[in-house]
Each structure stands twice: as C-alpha cells, then as structure tokens.
Amino acid sequence: MKLKSTLENYVFILPAALIFVVFYLVPFIWIFQLGLYEWDGILPTKVFVGLGNFKEIFFEDKIWWGSMRNAGYITLIALTLQNTLAFMLAWACDRQMRLKNFYRVLFFIPPVLSEVVVGLVWQWILDGNYGLLNGWLTSLGFPNLVRSWLSDPNTALTTVAIVHCWKGFGWGFLIFLAGLQTIPRELYEAARMDGANAWSSFKNITLPLMMPVAVLVAILTILGTMQGFVMIIAMTDGGPAYHTQVPVLRILASMRGSSRFGYACAQGITFGVVLMVISFIQYKFSQKFKQA
C-alpha cells in the first residue's frame, strides 16, 4: 500500500523529469563533452583535442573577444541609459497617480514584441537610403547627420545598443515601479513633517530602499543583454565587418558557418562561465548592501 502510494507520487513528476533529463540534462552534459572534440556535426568520427578548443578561444580568437567587448558595450549602455530611464519613468509614474496605468500599458509594449519584429521594424526606420530617421533629419535641416546607421562602422554598435534599450526598458520600469509601491507612504509623510524637501526624502528614503531592486534589475539586465542576439541578426547580422558581433552570434557562426560543433560548445562554456562569474559578483555585491 505504502509502496503503491509512493510509486503513484513518482508518476506525478515522471513527465517533467523525463523531459528535463532528455532535453536539458543530456544536452547540458554533451556541451562539456563536445567542447573537448573537433567535430563537424555530421561525420561519426570525432577527434579528441583536449583543451585545444579553449586554447584557441583564449589565445587566437580575436573576433570572439571582440564580440565579448561589443556585448559588454551594449550592456554598459543598457545598464546606464536604459535603467536610468526605467527608474525615472517609474519614479514619475509612482508620483503621478493619474494615467499611471495608461503609461504602464504602453511602456511594456516593446518587451512583449518579438526580437525579430523589433529588429526588422527598426532596420526599416534606420535604413540608410529610404529610412524614416534620415528623412526626418533631412527635412529638419540636419542633412549632415544623415548616414546608414546600421551599416556605418562608427554608428552601428551604438545604434544597436539604443534599440536594445528601447526594447528593454519596460522590464526595469515595471520592476522599479513595483518596488517603489512597496515603500510605505507614511515614511514620506513623516519626512515632510520633519521638514525634509523632495530631494532629501528621495535621497534618504527612496534611494536606499530601492538599492536591492536596482541590483536585481542590474543582474537581469546584464544576463539578458549579454546573451541577446536575435535583434542583431534582424538588424545587422553582426556586420559591418564584425562591428556588431556578439558572443552567441559567434557560437552560431562556429556551428553553422564553419561546422565546428566542438568549438561552438567550448565557446558556449566559456561564455556561460563569464556570465556565472558576473552574476556571482553582483550577488556578493548585493549581499554587502543588505548588511550595510
């Protein structure tokens, strides 16, 4: 009876466990195994190369580290521009009770759209020859600013980063707004009674209480932006000349372009470790804040 009951309980988790093992755990282990081989993904023969793939990544693959730097640049812009914007909007919405819902609905439209849709629409707007942005710049009297935003090496990466911010700020906005709404209004009241002005109650109440939320948004921004690449496929496909390459695009290129599955896995592991280290540092950082 007891045994039957326990077996019955296993039936509940069996489908989930099965899917998890086959479609998550097995591929996860394979990545580490394949990373040690040179393999084209088709032939049955794999050549064991040990840490050769990693050696190549660390000492020879300049494009890979360039793509890492590009992703870092996009992430840096997202952390500053996008999150500052998100916080300012949340703060304004939190004060402004009227129309709050209206703004909230609109600000979260870019995040629910697919990256392909966002990428292709912005590519059309930013098109060098017929794009709307250049049309506006010309008619507003700035014809010298006109350029092929996404294929000019000087502007491509920054343009891509700004589109990322456009797509992503709604997330931070929603989380910041939820955080702001947990701050008891009485705190502000009390501060005002004590003669604090708007700035000092912002500095002494809002900012310290929002610090954990800010750290959370920062972690989510870093993990999300570093791994983003679909919008880039839709806008520039990594061009011009590797200027908007990001790590996951390189992994794809190793796999599909040069048919080096082992090398692609090694790149994936390297990138995964980098991401883990970043989140770990952020986590430690947030723990410190909690103690302080």
């Binding site: 326990t6 296993y10 086959v22 849709v117 629409v121 679909v230």
Partner: protein
Amino acid sequence: MRSLTYYKIKKVAVNAVIHIFLLAVAASCVFPLAWMVSSSLKTQETVFKDTSLVPRELHFENYIIAWQEGGFGRYFFNSIIYTVSVVIGIIIVASLAAYAFSRLRFPGRNALFLMFMAAMMIPIPGSFVALYVLLNKLHLRNTAIGYILCMISVGLSTSIFLLKTFFDKLPRELEDAARMDGASKFGIWWHVAMPLARPVLAVVVIFNALNVWNEYVLAMILFDSKNLMPLQRALMVFQGEFLTNYPLLMAGLTITALPIILVYLFMQKYIVKGVTAGAISG
C-alpha cells in the same frame, strides 16, 4: 514667504514637464508600430517616397498577398499549433510536478526540485548546439514534435517554480475534504488544486505563450522545411529572399505582432503580476 499661487503654479509646471516626458516615451513605444502598419499599406512604388503616417491610398491587398503568396497564412497556423501545444503540455507537465513537489512525499523530492531550480538559474548560451545534435540523433529535427518538446523543456522550470510557490500557499482543507470523500490523488490534483490555481495558471499560460510565439533561435536551427516554420523564422527567410519588398514584409510583421499585442492588452494584468512575481522571487 512666497504666495500660495506660486506653489500652485510650480506644481502644475512640474507636473506638466513630467507628463510631457512620460508622453514622449509612450509615443516612442507606439510610433514604430504605427510606422510598420503604415508601411504595410503602401505599395512598392510609394513606400520609399511617401513618408506620411496615413497613406493616401490604403493597400489592404498587401495582407492578402502576404497571407496567400507570402505564405504567412501557413506560418501563422504553424505558430498557433506550436504555441497551443507547448502551453497545454507545460500546463499539464508542470502542474503535475509542482503539485508533487508541494504536496506529495517521495524519496529524492528535494534533490529533484533543486535540479529544476538550478536549471532556471544557470545560463547555458550554447545549449542550442547540443539540442541540434540531440534531435538529429532522435530523428526529431525538422519535425513539429521535436520543436514542441524542446519548447516545453524551455518553459518547464519557471512554470514549476511559479506553480509550486502558489500551491505552497494554498490551504489544504479542501484537498483533505476531497480525500475523505475518497478522491484519488489525480482526482484531487485535477478537480481541486487546478481550479484553485487559475490565477497563477493564467500567468503561466501568458508567459509561455508569449515565449513560444516570439521564439526564434530553435526554430532557426531545427527547421529546414518552409511548411513547418513558425512566423518569426519565416519573417527572416522572407526578408532574405525579398530583400526590399517592404510593404509585404511590414504586412508580415503586422500579422506576427498583432496577436501578441491583442493578447497583451487583454491580459496585461497577469503580465504585470508575472513580471513582479518573477522579479521578487528571483
């Protein structure tokens, strides 16, 4: 001492500035979509010259051409099939597991749950390489079922987490009563726990539906046959083949984005709930 009117005027002015700022950002969120729809109603001749937001002639036939000749009808249907199958699959598989993790006792329960949670936290950027190899071996690459199973696996951990957290907070009295009445474990799960979990099920449905509808990477890697492709993948293929047919491309984009926007507008309460719940728990 400044007069009361000074403070009133100052307040109105500050509010006006804040509203202008908020409105400007809100407009920037909507405008690209308006431009997308506008371009989809122009012709190949006018789309490059006519920069008006509301074109003089509205060429709705672009949508018919995109739907029939562009194949977007087929891709739309595929996207619907994938989204519905994955969501139903996740709801059943995840709620069974979440219910077990919350209510039932069996050896290895905590270890298994931790494994799912670890999967939620650990980023594996190259996982699609291994999934490609796996599905090739299983002869499931370039099949609908292979893609659906992969996507169920993608959404599983987070869904289990959300559902388990909800079940944990649910009072047990109703389930105890059902047990007294002789209901089986599966009966209690299906007839008692699931109906009570409706609010969180809505969150799970919405997030997974958005996720599957918008998914691109696995669709790109797994599908070779055009007649299996979902919208996101088909858009990129279309863009590659008809490089500058912007009206048709924009019509395709509108067909892809419209369902998501409608679902979002109707269900935004649950989306806000899900984002904040996920954020606070994470």
